[in-house]
Symmetry: C2
Subunit: 253 residues, 2 copies
């Protein structure tokens, strides 16, 4: 589909896993695309694709290059899909692409058109598997300090804990980043009870899915990696069997 020489770039959130957690809109956009770009491991989530579709796999660290390539291909008149796992607009590729478009002096109305297609993000997948921990106000914080000063991350953790937000930790650790979770834990314990329920979900809705229900005090006793999301409850969050639930309100007091 050549779209009359006017390119189109779909930014697609694949959700946590395979087809079951994708939206119909995501699949429609994938089917319409001439080229699909993404991190090698996320392209594998798509399953077999029609032979006429070009797939361009790249490594996790090549995000800037992937965005440039996707924009250049779409600007040349093609229909292109750039995929992220989870929601492409939450710590995903959407912002990277818009930053690249700004560098190119792109304005809406010019080629390519950009369509963002949201998907189920990692915290939502983890929450669904844990029960209902996100029923009240929550804050998402990435522990990756590659592009953000640690001081700001630490300030956010303290602020969110002090104000009794449920807290979702993205990117808690990688092979190279290991001290951040320990430090985050220390900050959270200053403001939250060690008995606060904590859910640790790794590879949600994928092979090797692992769900751990523990407490803030014992949070560091469980392994985490770059496919882990951690959800820390608020003062009202309770455990019911193997589920973690945050009530939708506070007791009248």
């Amino acid at each position: 589909m050549s779209n009359n020489n006017r390119g189109l770039l779909y930014l697609i959130g694949l959700g946590p896993g395979g087809r079951a957690q994708r939206t119909h809109q995501a699949d429609l956009a994938l089917d319409q695309s001439e080229v699909i770009l993404g991190y090698r491991r996320y392209l594998a989530l798509l399953g077999p694709r029609p032979p006429e579709q070009q797939l361009i796999a790249s490594e996790l660290t090549e995000e800037m290059h992937r965005a440039e390539q996707a924009v250049a291909l779409a600007a040349s008149g093609k229909v292109v899909a750039l995929v992220s796992s989870g929601d492409v607009g939450i710590y995903g590729m959407a912002g990277v692409v818009f930053e690249e478009l700004r560098r190119r002096g792109w304005q809406p109305g010019e080629s390519p058109d950009i369509a963002v297609i949201p998907g189920v993000s990692a915290a939502q997948a983890a929450a669904a598997l844990l029960g209902a921990p996100l029923m009240h106000d929550f804050a998402c914080v990435s522990l990756s300090d590659l592009l953000t000063p640690w001081e700001l991350i630490a300030r956010r953790l303290a602020a969110a804990a002090q104000a009794d937000f449920v807290i979702c930790l993205y990117n808690p650790a990688s092979q190279k980043r290991t001290w951040q979770l320990t430090e985050a834990h220390r900050i959270l314990l200053r403001h939250k009870d060690p008995r606060t329920p904590v859910g640790i979900v790794t590879n949600a809705y994928r092979q090797e899915q692992r769900i751990v229900l523990t407490s803030l005090g014992k949070m560091l006793e469980h392994p985490v990696n770059m496919f882990t999301t951690i959800i820390i409850g608020n003062a009202e969050t309770f455990v019911l069997g193997d589920r973690m639930i945050t009530p939708r309100g506070y007791p009248k007091g």
Copy 2:
């Protein structure tokens, strides 16, 4: 499908609008259900259903009764779906059901089984239509003080603004609740620049969808209602044409 007398309750997030934004898993669960319960307006999003399915529509305020009814039907051995718009686990019906299960003394392993199926939440739908405002740490705050003391909501707004979170406001106003948004605006302006980009999205992916891109200083000049979500940027959020983008990092400095 009677599931061997053991009931099953699906808690399903429908996403923002029609079928396009639903996941395949949500549709599969809807198709397997003997009874579907939900707020009248959300059941309408489902479109026509097979005649053998029983639909039980209720009013928005009847959440407790709806949860009790869904649990009772599923406990009797039926396959039941209870739907929320957006993500059923984010300010949706999932928590209400688990609170009802706790009251009944339910434990996992007993009937009914409970399966939570996540969906695209209102903030994600708004973000996709606005561009990419949720690319960095964000906090979701509901301005509804029906079940939460306003003092806590105010404390959360201040904490999130001080720590430079992107902020998503759910339930900014209803016919009865009108002063909360004005008060929230006052709190946010104490800590955020009035030029901070703000996106106001009403009825995302539905008929009468309305998208407004403005600034924190001018936020109150635009109409909002109970189908509106507001996204307030962080210190780095920028506007590119008609899009609102939060960069994925902070400048090194």
